[in-house]
């Protein structure tokens, strides 16, 4: 094992054993996205009237609310994994990469939490 170049420092160490986890999660969330987006697009096509009252009436049904919350989780998780790969591929400076990944976590968890809360608020009978 060499100690000069970056490849020399890792050669002979074997696999990192943490790649498949990310890869598999991307596939599992992709399957969730396929199923739940099919539900959303069919629902939107059948909705017809996109006015506030009609959309809320559809969304507060327990099946719709559950599916929408699951969709938000699956989409945001999948997007989080995909954007992580984008950052890792194109942001090479360690500090900038750390900051970009931290911002990514804040944005995806924050956005997902807000979306889930919005559905829950409607489903549990807030104003609107």
């Amino acid at each position: 094992m060499g100690n000069g170049t970056s490849i020399g420092r890792v050669r002979g160490l074997g696999a990192a054993h943490e790649g498949p986890h990310h890869w598999l999660l991307q596939r599992f969330t992709a399957i969730g996205n396929v199923v739940l987006m099919a539900w959303l697009l069919v629902s939107l096509a059948m909705l017809g009237d996109f006015g506030h009252a009609n959309v809320v009436k559809w969304l507060v049904h327990p099946v719709s609310a559950t599916a929408m919350i699951l969709l938000v989780v699956s989409l945001f998780w999948h997007a989080r994994l995909g954007l992580q790969v984008l950052i890792e591929d194109y942001v090479h400076e360690a500090g900038t990469k750390f900051a970009a990944l931290a911002a990514l976590n804040l944005a995806t968890i924050g956005g997902g939490a807000f979306a889930i809360f919005s559905v829950a608020k409607l489903a549990f009978g807030g104003i609107a």
């Binding site: 396929v34 017809g48 929408m68 997007a79 995909g82 090479h92 807000f114």
Partner: protein, 126 residues
């Protein structure tokens, strides 16, 4: 990073369908993540905030620019869906024969455009 040489990027390769479908997969995926999730969050947040906020959302999305965004997002979704399904086939080790691989590299984005048109035909004719 240091001054080590980098492998050449996009500009040196001759374009082919396999390259296009791969680039489209990343571009549409990242576009959906950055723009699509923003629209989804706005939609759900506006629904929860009441008819006034929802009217603002509807006004923005019903404008010509908003329609371009929505049609673009639906195209990005179907394109990412088709190239993603292609990835599932490749993941199980199938579809690597040169002709088959080329065929589905060309077919995936074309099917996506057909699905986009079909989706909007259903939405707009109801």
């Amino acid at each position: 990073m240091n001054q080590r040489p980098l492998s050449p990027h996009l500009q040196v390769w001759r374009w082919g369908p396999h390259m296009l479908v791969s680039i489209l997969h990343r571009a549409t995926g990242d576009g959906l993540a950055l723009v699509g999730l923003g629209v989804l969050v706005w939609w759900l947040g506006a629904l929860a905030s009441g008819p006034g906020a929802y009217a603002t959302f509807q006004g923005a999305m019903g404008s010509p620019l908003g329609m371009v965004v929505l049609v673009g997002l639906s195209w990005a979704f179907f394109t990412h869906l088709m190239s993603g399904l292609r990835h599932f086939v490749l993941d199980i080790g199938a579809g690597y024969e040169l002709d088959t691989n080329r065929l589905w590299s060309i077919a995936s984005p074309i099917i996506a455009i057909v699905l986009t048109a079909a989706f909007w035909a259903v939405i707009l004719t109801r």
